[in-house]
């Protein structure tokens, strides 16, 4: 019988687990520090924002994304390039309004909750993955796009899907966006 496969360290898997487990430990720590769910959510969003403002540079360097002409293209890139690259998943994108500035990312799989079966007791309003909203918001702001990013639905709260809503706040100013960063 040959040596079982798992004896060779699966670095990719260990690394992904490392991020997911560390994130879980962070949420647990914040739940200890803050009594109110809203405060934990706000803090996760704030930390995500900080990460997003720095992550966008890493993303642009790795992905060689070209110029975008619409909010729809930008949302597609977030879902099909950024999420795929960093988390290995591809949320599907829907457009929520006729002005085409409000979109949803539907997460069918969510690696962040791989080890989470349900929200902790007494934490029914916790947006467990709120870091993601902050990251998207921070990254967009660094490319001069203001947006509101929140969870519209959450499987951990009993909804049928997990849905992140992105609402771009200003009309896409083409002239401004063409300017080199």
């Amino acid at each position: 019988m040959s040596r079982p496969a798992h004896r060779r360290p699966e670095y990719h898997k260990i690394n992904k687990d490392l991020f997911v487990l560390t994130y879980g430990a962070l949420v647990a720590q914040l739940c200890k520090d803050y009594e109110k769910d809203e405060d934990v959510n706000k803090y996760l969003d704030k930390m995500g924002y900080g990460i997003g403002t720095r992550l966008v540079e890493d993303f642009l360097a790795r992905s060689c994304v070209g110029r975008c002409h619409s909010y729809s293209e930008i949302t597609d890139i977030i879902a099909q390039v950024a999420f795929k690259m960093y988390l290995g998943i591809t949320p599907s994108v829907t457009c929520n309004n006729s002005s085409r500035n409000a979109f949803s990312l539907i997460l069918d799989k969510n690696p962040l909750v791989e080890f989470v079966e349900e929200l902790p007791a007494g934490r029914s309003s916790l947006c467990y993955c709120n870091l993601l909203c902050g990251i998207i918001r921070g990254a967009l702001e660094m490319v001069h796009l203001a947006a509101d990013v929140t969870f519209l639905q959450d499987r951990l709260k009993g909804d049928s899907v997990t849905e992140i809503g992105i609402t771009f706040l200003k009309k896409l100013d083409e002239k401004k966006y063409r300017r080199k960063k």
């Binding site: 019988m1 690394n15 687990d17 962070l26 704030k46 990460i51 070209g66 690259m85 960093y86």
Partner: protein
Amino acid sequence: SSGRCWYHRARGWRMAGAVPFVFLHAEMVAELGARDTDTDPGPGGQKRSLEGTGFRVGQALGEREELDALKFLCKDLWVAVFQKQVDGLCTNHQGTYVLQDNSFPLLIPMALGLQYLEEAPKFLAFTFGLLRGALRTLGFESLVTSSVATLPACKFQVVIRKS
């Protein structure tokens, strides 16, 4: 511009999966560290909190290795030796695992009469050793027991011993 082809998989995609942890860690050092010094002005405060988080994550990663070893037993080892997989695996996440086999092949010849139930342990002893030996090679010390309620179904209880 060409519409659909606005990106391509540059070499930068490799190792991108390692990036989220690095960025999260940096943010944790900045944020948690800043908050810790408010409540615990001692010089070790910030590092203790981060170290505690690291410790918990390390424990969880170690548990994944243990679970992988058990899955090897339930799938690869069982198929190689008994031509079937274990039917169920449970754990209390504290080092105890229960392997459920609804039709354990070494008990099947005995399954004809209930009066043989007290003979069952003799037919399981070899398999106890098999499990302990396999786990030893995989780096785990263990204790194996079993319970047989209805032949030929049985449960093997494996307790991983912390060194």
